[in-house]
Amino acid sequence: MRVNLTVNGEQRQADDVWEGESLLYVLRERLGLPGSKNACEQGECGSCTVYLDDVPVCACLVAAGQAQDREVRTVEGLAEGDRLDPVQEAFVEAGAVQCGFCTPGLVVAAHDLLERVPQPSDPEIREALAGNLCRCTGYEKILDAVRLAAARR
């Protein structure tokens, strides 16, 4: 089937989509947007987190057809040209990126948190990022990054 959707502000079209395929597969394999990562395909790791109509979701759990006529924003859509989003900048500066596999999902989840709660408490940060796993950093630097991004707002 064909799926039409808006991705990062652009009207996009994906063809030959299998009806049981996920939005994550469409983004990565059909639209050339490999930013969102595929690690577990079962909603456990959060590395595929994208905005769907402004709400962060696991792209691996959205059926491609459910994204028809919807608006998707991926990690690729956060930077403005060469200028990183402040959340991305904070991740780099705080040393919150090691292998980087979890980073796109965490950046989107942290971005959403700061849109809703500009000055989050530590428990609020932990709660907002509870659906994102990182096997490298031990999370402390990730918390630092979110605090830094919040402080700069």
């Binding site: 996920s22 909603g43 959060g46 759990l61 059926a63 989840a109 509870a130 659906g131 994102n132």
Partner: protein, 286 residues
């Protein structure tokens, strides 16, 4: 595979009548896992996310099957504290943004977090088909492990609840706070005006189930007209009766013996919290 995309409830019901083999998909947090892992290859998916009738709730607390947990927490937490508490423990923020009570009922996993709350709060499940609609009390909805009372051509339309008549509590045992399937869970609702209690266990029997004897025991022991601190013996007996209502199994998440023990502990604690809330409420009014 076909991807069916109804835009109204009538259209969805007509499609389901025509294609009873079509698998409904709402938040997809159960269905997509099965598809991604090739555990299921249905001939068709019936996408319910575009059906407006399923996405809204009204003041009579008829909650559309497709209202996600995040909205239940944000919009209904004041009137339905028990359901909101259970919703808060589901998965992660991403899962709560998509997952729905309708999906929890559709999956009918014994471990589904909303089930004990729905049972303890006298919820009624509204289902419909092209033939008409039925109101099924939650107590009659769960038939077996992952089996519910839906007919092939039916969809879950809404859950009907009443605003909390008194304190409600939900408790769940798991290995961490986020992203855990319940080892076992428990919900309690007090109905002070009717001098009765609702209590139900989850993940501790082939279906979620009410703890009737425990409910009756409390109804006879509790003094709702002038609530005073509870005797430990009452809490203990309540815990025992709740534990006895369960028939858990040993599995990877926990042993039957542990589940029985944990249920008794959760029942005692949640009763303590709910009763204290009632006492504090009386004081605040006095």
């Amino acid at each position: 595979m076909d991807f069916l995309r109804p835009e109204t409830l009538a259209e969805a019901l007509a499609l389901k009548a025509e294609r009873p083999d079509a698998v409904p998909i709402a938040g997809g947090t159960d269905v997509m896992v099965e598809l991604n892992f090739d555990h299921r290859r249905p001939p068709a998916l019936l996408d319910l996310t575009r059906v407006p009738e399923l996405q809204r709730w009204d003041e009579g607390l008829r909650i559309g099957a497709g209202v996600p947990y995040a909205r239940i927490i944000a919009e209904l937490g004041d009137r339905l504290p028990g359901l909101a508490m259970a919703s808060r423990t589901v998965g992660s923020p991403q899962i709560r943004n998509r997952g729905t009570v309708g999906g929890n009922l559709g999956a009918a996993s014994p471990a589904g977090d909303t089930h004990p709350v729905l049972l303890a709060s006298d919820a009624v499940v509204e289902v419909a088909s092209a033939r008409g609609s039925r109101m099924i009390p939650a107590t009659e909805f769960y038939l077996g492990v992952k089996r519910n009372a839906l007919e092939q051509d039916e969809l879950i339309v809404a859950v009907h609840l009443k605003p909390a008549a008194g304190p409600q509590q939900f408790s769940k045992v798991g290995t961490r706070n986020a992203m855990v399937i319940a080892v076992c869970s428990f919900a309690i609702s007090l109905f002070p005006a009717e001098k009765r209690v609702g209590a139900a266990v989850g993940s501790a029997a082939p279906t979620p189930r009410r703890a009737r004897e425990a409910e009756e025991f409390l109804a006879s022991e509790l003094d709702f007209s002038s609530p005073k601190p509870l005797l430990d013996s009452v809490k203990r007996e309540f815990g025992e009766l709740v534990s006895r209502a369960a028939s858990p199994i040993d599995d990877v998440r926990g042993s039957a013996a542990y589940r029985k023990h944990a249920l008794a502990v959760m029942a005692r604690r949640t009763l303590g919290w709910a009763w204290q809330e009632l006492i504090d409420g009386e004081r605040a009014c006095a």
